[in-house]
């Protein structure tokens, strides 16, 4: 039990000896352990993503069983933030100031990470491989301690726009986007590719998350004469869009759909699986339900991990292969640090990943960073909805460099 007097005493001691604060070693790195901090929505509306946090706990347990890294065991501390930004701030301060973690890893959510990005950059705490697709985590100039991992929404939009120009050069694009950071990244990505032609080629219409339906927007886009549609919205609205596009008889369009909203259970089935046939989206991870990976060595490695460390985990949940891939990347960075676990060295190695291939990425897709590239994954493969499943086609495509 810590008494107030003890606290006062410690405080006084710290004040008396300022030298302690700038000791040589990194906070959270001792002779025997590396402390890694994380926040996850284990409760609340986004709690489905909690499986990512559970996977990380299991992954680091596996690493410790294998002897740890750099002679140390990993102490993975993960807290629930309920996907609520104020809670994230509270938990991250607790991780940094009380638990004294060496780094933050894979904190989940765009609004939640937005709430802490200033704080961690001021404190110069590595904020690594955040679990969100927003493009802004690649901004190495303003937030040099923060980096994303998955292909950003903007990269994804660039890939769709490039594919559209290749298959239908004189296309007219209707763009339906959710009016927030997520949706606007798609507008930016399409603009990257089309440049000055954007205004003559694209009709962009937004919707708010509070809108009950997007019927009016679909009618507007159809009326604009667009023959290609890009839908950049969250699952409920994506399902509504697929159904409405079908119901108004808008069949000529190529329909690109953000890979945020391709869940069979929450989008394709509610919309009516037959209504979405031909929809194109993209992927960078091996889908655990895709029979094509049954004999894949990478996926076998992942399945062995699941069997041993998360035996009750849902093998169809795409969050697990995602978590496995990003945790492997984290491990790769710690390996590259080569015993020097200072925060500066960690960031140097974060910006020095050369074509690393996690087990769960689609073959041909690599993790690569440099001091001027904080977008670790920039490649994806397209896939098409057949009425029952997503079928990959074509080679691996890359976003444009901006």
């Amino acid at each position: 039990m810590t008494t107030r007097r003890q606290l006062l005493g410690t405080g006084a001691a710290l004040l008396a000896a300022p030298g302690i604060a700038r000791a040589q070693e990194t906070p959270g790195v001792t002779a025997t352990e590396i402390r890694i901090g994380n926040t996850m929505p284990y409760s609340g509306p986004a709690s489905a993503y909690g499986s990512i946090g559970r996977s990380h706990q299991a992954f680091f347990r596996m690493i410790n069983d294998q002897g740890g890294i750099a002679g140390r065991k990993i102490n993975f501390i993960t807290y629930d933030d309920g996907y609520s930004p104020p809670k994230t701030v509270e938990q991250v301060r607790r991780l940094v100031e009380q638990d004294k973690v060496a780094l933050l890893f894979n904190t989940l959510g765009t609004p939640t990470n937005s709430a802490i990005v200033r704080y961690v950059n001021q404190r110069k705490v590595p904020h690594l491989f955040v679990s969100t697709g927003a493009d802004k985590w690649g901004n190495y100039q303003d937030t040099p301690w923060t980096i994303g991992w998955q292909p950003s929404y903007r990269t994804e939009a660039q890939i769709y726009a490039k594919h559209m120009l290749a298959t239908r050069p004189d296309a007219r694009l209707g763009l339906l986007y959710q009016n927030d950071d997520f949706g606007k990244d798609y507008v930016a990505g399409v603009r990257d590719v089309l440049g000055p032609r954007f205004d003559s080629v694209v009709k962009a219409v937004s919707h708010e998350v509070t809108d009950p339906t997007i019927d009016s927007q679909v009618v507007t886009l159809q009326g604009s004469g667009a023959d290609v549609l890009l839908t950049a919205t969250t699952p409920k609205f994506a399902a509504q869009t697929i159904r409405k596009v079908f119901d108004v008889g808008w069949r000529s369009a190529i329909h690109y759909l953000t890979n945020v909203s391709i869940s069979v259970g929450t989008v394709m089935d509610p919309a009516g699986p037959e209504k979405g046939v031909g929809i194109i989206t993209s992927a960078y991870l091996k889908d655990p339900t895709d029979a094509g990976w049954n004999a894949d060595p990478g996926m076998n490695e992942w399945r062995a991990f699941m069997q041993k460390y998360i035996p009750d985990g849902d093998m169809k949940d795409g969050s697990y292969p995602f978590a496995y891939g990003v945790a492997q990347t984290m491990l790769q960075v710690l390996k590259q640090c080569d015993m020097d676990l200072s925060r500066e060295r960690m960031m140097k190695e974060v910006a020095n990943i050369r074509d690393f291939v996690p087990a769960t990425l689609i073959p041909g897709i690599k993790v690569a960073t440099s001091p001027t590239n904080f977008h670790p994954i920039r490649q994806m493969q397209l896939q098409k909805w057949t009425g029952t499943t997503w079928e990959r086609f074509g080679g691996v495509l890359e976003g444009t460099s901006i």
Partner: protein, 290 residues
Amino acid sequence: MNGLAHQIVAGIATGGIYAAVALAIVMIYQATHHVNFAQGEMATLSTFIAWSMINAGMPYWVAFFATVAVSFAIGVAIERLLMRPVQNAPELTHVGVFIGLLLIIGNATGWIFGYTTKSFPSPFHSDKPLAGGLISAHELGSTVVTLAVLLLVWAFFRFTRLGLAMRAAAYNPRSARLVGIRVGWMLALGWGLAAAIGAVAGMMVAPIVFLDPTMMLGILLYAFAGALLGGIDNPMGAVIGGFVVGVLENLAGAYVVGTELKLTVALAIIIGVLVVRPSGLFGRVVYSRV
């Protein structure tokens, strides 16, 4: 011109949703002279109850009427257990209880049923697209259901002694009590009926917007605008108001203010009506002597 017609038809279809929810809001206002902020959440919970029954293998219409009955009971229970102890408390206390209800019911729904989007079946089907695919069989069917509920509500208040007693209890509780009306039970009945109408609205809305715990959040605001526009004490007005808001919202979004300000249109309607004509288009102006 074709686009304009399409926007209007799509607006009427969406307006049908607002009309159904607006009707539930008017119902509770008629009975208690309060606007229940938790109306949307209660309707969503009812819809989830129906969803569970249908998933358990019950035929649609059995589940439909069972849900209406269960919702009625929940409404009565809420009045008896939660509203009754604070019935003489100031307005602000009621608002507090309503907001508390909204949070409790909303989060409980998410906790029990999860936050993922679910599809909800529709009893109305059509083989060929109606009006060029702009209106679905379900949207047409649910509009008919809304109008049928409207007719029932109107007839109930207009022709039955119970309806008259409920109106009396809401307008003048003291006099009503003196002529032998059991005011407390009339209020409970009002809550029950409002919850039942909300359940119908929820079950009609869910096939269109898909079912999740936040389904009613956006809808409720538009429904408020519709109810106010038509007159908060007039069921017919509320339904017309709901349709008008649906069409206005689409036209303004597509041609005037842009999609970013669609929600603002609803808020502007609310404020405009309150400033210019607080009783709404069809509402009765009530004078009270002070």
